[in-house]
């Protein structure tokens, strides 16, 4: 797949539109969630966190890590192998890690008044924390110096292994006795246990943070492409300097447009 729409000075219009839509819908969700929707009969005003915490978790677990796993799979499959999928996975994981950390933070702020503790080694909480650690490991692996192809393959495998924890997080409230409540929307009967203005605001929250996620991944993907390109240029300049010091001619072939660096043996001057 070509990188053409991302490289260069291009900033696609759709990215701006999605970013703006994400901003507006998020603001609307906050307004509806904090000031318009009624308090819950049991939880009182604490229920207002439902418009923030589940949408953040939805983005982290299902969108970000799901997209990362799918991209990793497509990279590993020979027919679709392209650095596009590797970069998309990297972008998605970084955004997902931010959302995963926020899932834990907002969950703790909800858990303290509801359960009386900030943290408990509950199956849902523990598996979500483990997910954060696994994908932090993925990001650390990306920083290990290696050939772009080797790094991509390594990270694709790591991404798929880490993704195994996602269904464990999802079904943890079914498989084990937990403090955490069961699924509100994606339950076994697919019948949401939330209605009226509360349901619509929750739905808007999901849409808002999905748009924010798409915008963030698009920007992060572009950063990945630009970083690969500047890294490749920096490497070329360094190699040219070293070869010049050794008195050999500098290869003039341009770097491949996919950002990887093709190293060719230099030819001695005069040959």
């Amino acid at each position: 797949m070509s990188d053409a729409p991302i490289v260069g000075r291009s900033r696609p219009v759709w990215v701006r539109v999605v970013g703006l839509a994400g901003l507006v819908t998020t603001a609307l969700t906050v307004w509806l969630g904090l000031w318009v929707t009624p308090p819950d009969q049991k939880q009182g005003n604490l229920v207002r966190l439902v418009y923030l915490h589940p949408p953040i978790a939805w983005v982290a677990l299902y969108l970000a890590f799901g997209l990362a796993a799918l991209s990793s799979l497509l990279y590993l499959w020979r027919r679709t192998r392209s650095l596009f999928w590797d970069r998309l996975a990297a972008a998605s994981v970084e955004v997902g890690v931010v959302f995963n950390a926020l899932t834990l933070a907002t969950g703790m702020l909800w858990g303290r008044p509801s359960w009386g503790v900030w943290w408990t080694w509950d199956a849902r909480l523990t598996s979500t924390a483990l997910l954060l650690v696994l994908f932090l490991g993925y990001l650390a692996l990306r920083r290990v110096p290696a050939d772009p192809e080797v790094r991509a393959k390594r990270c694709a495998v790591a991404g798929l292994i880490a993704f195994v924890d996602v269904p464990i997080v999802h079904f943890s409230v079914v498989w084990w006795q937990t403090l955490h409540q069961g699924a509100t929307v994606l339950n076994a009967d697919l019948s949401p246990t939330i209605h009226g203005s509360m349901a619509w605001t929750l739905l808007l929250g999901f849409v808002a943070l999905t748009l924010v996620f798409v915008w963030m991944v698009a920007v992060r993907y572009r950063i990945e492409v630009l970083a690969d390109r500047t890294g490749a240029e920096h490497l070329e300049i360094s190699l040219a300097e070293r070869w010049a010091e050794g008195g050999v001619a500098v290869p003039t072939a341009p770097a491949p447009s996919n950002g990887s660096v093709e190293l060719r043996p230099p030819s001695p001057v005069g040959q």
Partner: protein, 53 residues
Amino acid sequence: MSYVDAGYAVGLSVLFLYAIGLVLRRRSLERRVDLAPPADPGQRATEAPPGES
């Protein structure tokens, strides 16, 4: 400050700061790419999408 306010403050401010960070990182890299001398004069022209360079 209630737990609800704290939840919204933490969630939205972290997302906002991360978004600002992304934009700044992108701008910084774009500036570096613009400043770097092209290895081949024809390379930039082939990579930039038509009508958007």
